[in-house]
């Protein structure tokens, strides 16, 4: 099953490679990983999407907790949560295709953030499925580049990881 693990870790050099190294050393999956400092600059917040059996997920949680740099973690999929991903996508665009691009952008609540004579760049946010669907909707066009942030997650309601 797919799990989203949200981790608070010390914002120190090497902390990220400890987490990444743990996953490769123990042959766990990483589907996506996003990390950046929080409002407290000594802490980073990481959102990690992984999958595995219940036993493997339990081990992943325990092994992550064992890392000295990990302050706290929560498996967001255990409760209700919100997940978002940001995608930047550059497509080949001519004056004829622009109307269609604008129409699709509107449907997917995307925004055009750059435009040249031959290209158009859009930003779209949503969960992974929505972004997949947006890419799919552009299948008749030429996609030059796709950049995705990986999933970010936060729990609903008053739950806070601190």
């Amino acid at each position: 099953m797919r799990h989203i693990i949200s981790i608070l870790l010390e914002n120190e050099s090497g902390a990220l490679s400890r987490v990444a190294g743990l996953f490769s050393a123990r042959a766990y999956n990483i589907e996506s990983l996003a990390v950046a400092p929080t409002d407290d600059p000594t802490l980073s917040r990481m959102t990690l999407v992984t999958s595995g059996t219940e036993e493997i997920i339990e081990q992943i949680n325990k092994q992550l907790n064992k890392l000295i740099d990990v302050v706290k973690l929560v498996d967001l999929t255990e409760g209700t949560h919100i997940e978002r991903e940001l995608m930047l996508i550059k497509i080949h665009a001519t004056s004829e295709s622009m109307a269609e691009i604008e129409r699709l952008a509107e449907i997917f609540h995307g925004r055009i953030i750059d435009k040249t004579d031959t290209t158009c760049t859009l930003e779209v946010t949503g969960n992974g499925e929505k972004l997949d669907a947006f890419v799919e909707s552009l299948s008749s066009m030429t996609i030059c580049e796709v950049v995705r942030s990986g999933i970010l997650g936060i729990s609903r309601g008053e739950h806070v990881l601190d």
């Binding site: 090497g14 339990e58 325990k62 000295i68």
Partner: protein, 564 residues
Amino acid sequence: MELTGAEIIIECLKAESVEYVFGYPGGAVLHIYDAFYKQDDVKHILVRHEQGATHAADGYARSTGKPGVVLVTSGPGATNAVTGIATAYMDSIPMIIITGQVPKHLIGNDAFQEVDSVGITRPIVKHNFLVGDVKDLARIFKQAFYVATTGRPGPVVIDIPKDITANKTEFLYPEEIRMRSYNPTVKGHPGQIKRAVDVILAAERPMIYTGGGVILGNGSEQLRKFTRKLGYPITQTLMGLGAFPATDKLSLGMLGMHGTYEANMGMHNCDVLIAIGARFDDRVTGQLEKFCPEATIIHVDIDPASISKNVRVDIPIVGQVAQVLDDFLVELQKTEKTPKASALDAWWKQIDEWRSQDCLKYDRDSDIIKPQFVIEQMYAVTEGKAFVTSDVGQHQMFAAQYYGFDEPRRWINSGGLGTMGFGMPAAMGVQLAHPNDLVTCITGEASIQMCIQELATCRQYNLPLKIINLNNRYMGMVRQWQEFFYEKRYAMSYMEALPDFVKLAESYGHVGIKVEKPADVRPALEEAIAQKDRLVFLDFITDQEENVYPMVPAGGGLNEMILV
């Protein structure tokens, strides 16, 4: 007053009451060696290879419970230490490894003797640090010692760029340390402890299974009280031997791949398994699907990640072994319930029947020296009181099976990583920690050659080890597997071109004795021990094709042993 980084390192080691540092100098650590030169409080032991330094510090740590300290230079100094760091990591041994690093401005430049030590050691340490500022040095040392010695212990690497050892700052060693991301659990959950004690007392076919965690957690005394109070059978892993006395009738010996018949059958048939400070290693469990099929499993461990990792546990208890056992004892005192006497009688009858199989029998009348015979004679001559280190292979298993350890921290071997070359350098650390005790190293002609250079270190520091070389001219365990599973195709397991070990020992300034007849075994051992101040290398020419029995073959359950 301001001190240099190098001087601060010495002060930190003093503050942590470090007696010995095992190391080897080189460019990146010259400032530190200069600081060593100017003081006498912390003694430096010069090894002949960095691997030897790590194993010596490891032996020191295992035999004392105090952290072992290593100092090596950057690049090859650090990479040579890697095997020893991994060895300590796999067996949860508290160690501090100080590695020199190229100056900060050269890091990442492919500088001379530069290697990413923090990156290389990351998967084999409990934690590691790259020091970025001389002002952080004292705090990092305090944290390193704290992390290495608390919770589930382990090695910690401190990588120090050369310029930092020359930079100056005020020295202030922190009195206390608090880390928001590291708070090991001490006490077990009271509700779980009550539940466990109820299950323990309701057992009809109980089995206590303990591991190295009891020794690391200094829980031996509590384990004895607990086991004797219940009168339950106990089996110990390779790493746990000595926590409970081998000579006690409740002890069934070691379990696992080369465990005794009674221990493995007891495990397979028990209805309640009480696992304490053990981690259900694959060499212990055999085929997981066949492991303890009828048992309710209680597992006490300091490391939550060890619980339900390989085997699903019914009652997990996270806490320090000694503390949890104390709580068990209090609970046993409080409750009116008692062990089930008649069921236990029947269980012990069954166990005694398994015992009568005498699974460790061997040909005692052989006119070739049997390796088991050497260990038995050694046990007799040393009255079971020696410190025994070992290398890895058949001799290690024979030592574990035939030398009955009655005390913890006497049996020192590389169980998790299985590092050949561990035995002699580890014995050096043990001997330095216990200068007046008899320290022996049981080894084989293959393993001993992996760190043979340390014979020079033994000479330099007058370490009077007794080296018991069980010389069968084969990598015995490799040959045994080839005999059983590869139709005796002995690929590369024969030891050609062996040195004359007697002359080799003599050339290093030691005493060498070659023993070829069973009748000479005991006198040779006695003579070696009588030479109190000398290292004696005993080269026993043993049966070439003796095997270690019992054996649980790969894929087998613990009840599926090959017996002699």
